[in-house]
């Protein structure tokens, strides 16, 4: 593999990771959506680059899917939900932003520690790719648990997915990537549909998950 291919892939992956940090940093919903769009764009670029450099045309489909769904449709849909449902525009953090950042950095460190022993016969690309995608996944999870707002949780969930796709496109010859990313997108769609559905039914006043769970099973 050429140095250029390696460097470009590395750089694009790093951008995705950077965007994950940026997501953690946001306090306002709209800017969160914007950052997410940028992450999706970076991911699209990665997928397209890998398709080109490895000569695997099916990755173009992945890139396209990412672009259409993640960079366009979903941000727009979420934007409309926020507006239509009059969701509070600021994000309530369950964990302070500073602490979140510290946790994020620790997670990245952990990822690197985990990847370090992977030397034996893995190529450098796999290693970098692995560290980056692992970090993105963990940061996405952190995002989900450190925010109270439902929209930001959806965003966190999707950023986990971005990490997955980053990993999948980075490894040579991964079959079924498209199928799996489609299957995953169905799930995301479900979530968004669910939010709509619940709102339409007016079973819950707000999408704050604490309130959704007022019933909690056996609290009688």
């Amino acid at each position: 593999m050429s140095d250029l291919g390696y460097d470009a892939a590395h750089m694009l992956g790093a951008v995705v990771l950077l965007m994950s940090f940026a997501l953690l940093y946001q306090r306002r919903l709209f800017s969160l959506l914007n950052v997410f769009t940028m992450q999706a764009l970076a991911l699209t670029a990665t997928a397209a680059w890998q398709a080109y450099s490895h000569g695997e045309p099916h990755l173009y489909i992945t890139a396209l899917l990412t672009l259409v769904l993640k960079a366009i449709l979903i941000p727009v849909a979420l934007h409309r939900i926020v507006v239509k449902m009059k969701i509070h525009r600021t994000i309530e953090p369950a964990l302070g932003i500073g602490l979140t950042m510290v946790a994020g950095v620790s997670l990245v460190t952990l990822s690197i520690l985990l990847v370090l022993p992977v030397t034996a016969d893995a190529t450098a690309l796999t290693r970098e790719n692995l560290a980056l995608s692992l970090s993105v996944v963990l940061l996405g999870l952190l995002m989900m648990i450190s925010r109270r707002n439902a929209v930001s949780q959806v965003v966190g969930f999707m950023s986990i997915e971005n990490g997955l796709i980053l990993a999948a496109v980075g490894v040579a010859g991964m079959p079924l990537v498209v199928e799996m990313s489609v299957a995953f997108s169905v799930m995301v769609a479900f979530i968004i549909f669910g939010i709509f559905l619940f709102h339409i039914r007016e079973r819950f006043d707000t999408l704050d998950m604490q309130k959704i769970e007022s019933f909690r099973g056996e609290s009688d």
């Binding site: 022993p117 030397t119 997955l164 079959p175 079924l176 669910g194 769970e213 056996e218």
Partner: protein
């Protein structure tokens, strides 16, 4: 291979057909019909040699699980027919929802059979994800606040879990790709098993952690179990039966496949301690949670967590005896727990409540049901002559002989759960008959005409297994037990 194709295709066709069939009676009958065909096809497998292809694999491990799944699918469809008839009669469900329900039921069977028979990591993942989606829809079938909340919880938690499992799957490919080259081979069970010894253990370890957490969420291992009790409690009871009886097994099957890879690799971290820790945590936590439960279905859902903990512990211990015990326990738990849910569903319809303190004296008011429920709980509590006793016997004795200190929490956990089960089953089955306002049969608005055939069929199987296991099954178990390390 064609038999497997039939097994997987039948429910898929069934789902399509049932989505179009109006009328719940016909739907229920067709549902039973498709399930019967699936079961018959899966019985054919017993006569065939184990085989593997690009898409499907049939070996000692999944053959009995496929048959079990098809069987429980059939009995549940029979139970479901009588269950929904009552739900229609009392107006809790309508025709439109039932059409959806039947289609989803077959779709769910499809995903599970696919997950069990797939020879490909990716296909299996897709199937498990599909199973999640279909069951989420079915859990929310009643559209009550509680059921939607339960479905939402289920969906979010298992969604994250399934995402992590996908990451694990990708990692697995990443690990295998340098050795096996790019392409399908590195995602195929049979190929992986042949080459896994050469794979670098570092990524394998990482992959296993993600797979354990990911699929483990679906198994219901503590502390990833939170979705399970609510999903069981709020959905229709047939769905609770298949969730406990089948879905948990399928998820565990996935974990175990990966454990086999690790065991065959030899250099990777031993997955045993991780599984033992999570198994014990599930067992102890679920055992304690049983005590404060009021909802009968949630109660037995926690009992499922407990048993999944025991099974995970058994596979974590490893060795021929413990693995054998684990495999047996999977089958026994599946049959017993679904039987219990049949009985519970019936009891809930009879008494009109899911609150345990309002149900009592079932053996007096409804002897066949009450004694059936009692037998089911006795079986799940690990009392002889039922099959769970045999697996727990093997597990406890072999564990204590090897790791005495691990056997103690195991026994304590089993006893704690046992105490709760006894407490509740005595209350449900004995004493003065209760029910709606303690009136028993007289206030029953709609007479319940449920069939107890599935319940007793399961109990009979569990009873037979408790004293006698057929030779081929033993041989399969022993083969798999050896592979699991």
């Amino acid at each position: 291979m064609s038999a497997v194709a039939v097994i997987v295709a039948t429910p898929l066709i069934g789902a399509a057909v049932l989505a179009l069939v109006p009328g719940h009676r016909l739907g229920a009958r067709l549902n039973i019909g498709f399930s019967t065909v699936t079961l018959l096809a899966s019985l054919v497998l017993f006569g065939l040699e184990p085989s593997s292809g690009a898409l499907f694999v049939v070996d000692a491990f999944n053959i009995y699980l496929i048959a079990l799944t098809a069987f429980v699918g059939l009995t549940t469809s029979v139970f479901s027919a009588s269950y929904i008839a009552h739900e229609i009669a009392v107006g809790k469900l309508d025709e439109r929802k039932l059409r959806f329900y039947h289609a989803m039921y077959q779709a769910f069977m499809f995903t599970m059979l696919l997950a069990l028979s797939a020879n490909n990591l990716g296909v299996m993942w897709v199937a498990v994800e599909g199973a999640t989606l279909t069951t989420v829809l079915m859990v929310s079938l009643y559209r009550t606040a509680a059921s939607i909340e339960a479905a939402w919880k289920y969906f979010i938690l298992c969604g994250v879990g399934i995402a992590l499992a996908l990451f694990g799957t990708i990692l697995m490919y990443m690990a295998a790709q340098p050795v096996m080259g790019p392409g399908m081979a590195a995602m195929t069970w049979t190929e992986l098993m042949d080459h896994v010894a050469k794979i670098s253990p570092a990524i394998l370890n990482l992959a296993f952690v993600f797979l354990l957490i990911g699929y483990g969420t679906k198994v219901g291992l503590a502390p990833l179990h939170a979705w399970l009790p609510d999903a069981h409690a709020e959905g229709p009871t047939p769905i609770s039966a298949v969730l406990s009886g089948l879905l948990l097994n399928v998820a565990l099957y996935a974990v175990l496949r990966f454990k086999m890879l690790l065991a065959a690799n030899g250099q990777a971290i031993a997955p045993g301690p991780l599984m033992i820790a999570m198994g014990l945590a599930s067992l102890l936590l679920a055992g304690l949670m049983l005590y404060r439960r009021r909802d009968v279905k949630r109660f037995f859902a926690y009992s499922s967590i407990e048993h999944m903990g025991i099974i995970t512990f058994a596979f974590g211990m490893g060795g021929p005896l413990a693995n054998f015990a684990g495999l047996l326990h999977m089958a026994m738990h599946s049959l017993t727990k679904s039987a219990i849910f049949y009985a519970v569903g019936h009891a809930v319809q009879v008494t009109g409540t899911q609150r345990m303190d309002r149900i009592s004296g079932l053996t007096v008011s409804h002897p066949a049901l009450g004694w059936g429920l009692l037998a089911g709980v006795v079986a799940i509590a690990g009392l002889p002559p039922f099959g769970v006793f045999m697996s727990e016997f093997l597990l406890v004795t072999s564990t204590f002989a090897r790791e005495p200190l691990l056997a103690l929490p195991l026994v304590v956990g089993i006893l704690v759960a046992f105490g709760a089960l006894v407490l509740r089953v005595q209350q449900l089955c004995f004493g003065a008959p209760g029910g709606v306002e303690g009136g028993g049969a007289s206030v029953e608005p709609v007479p319940v005409q449920g069939t107890l055939v599935p319940l007793y069929a399961h109990l009979a199987l569990v009873l037979v297994a408790g004293v006698w296991l057929p030779g081929p099954l033993v041989a399969w178990f022993q083969t798999v037990a050896a592979l699991l390390g």
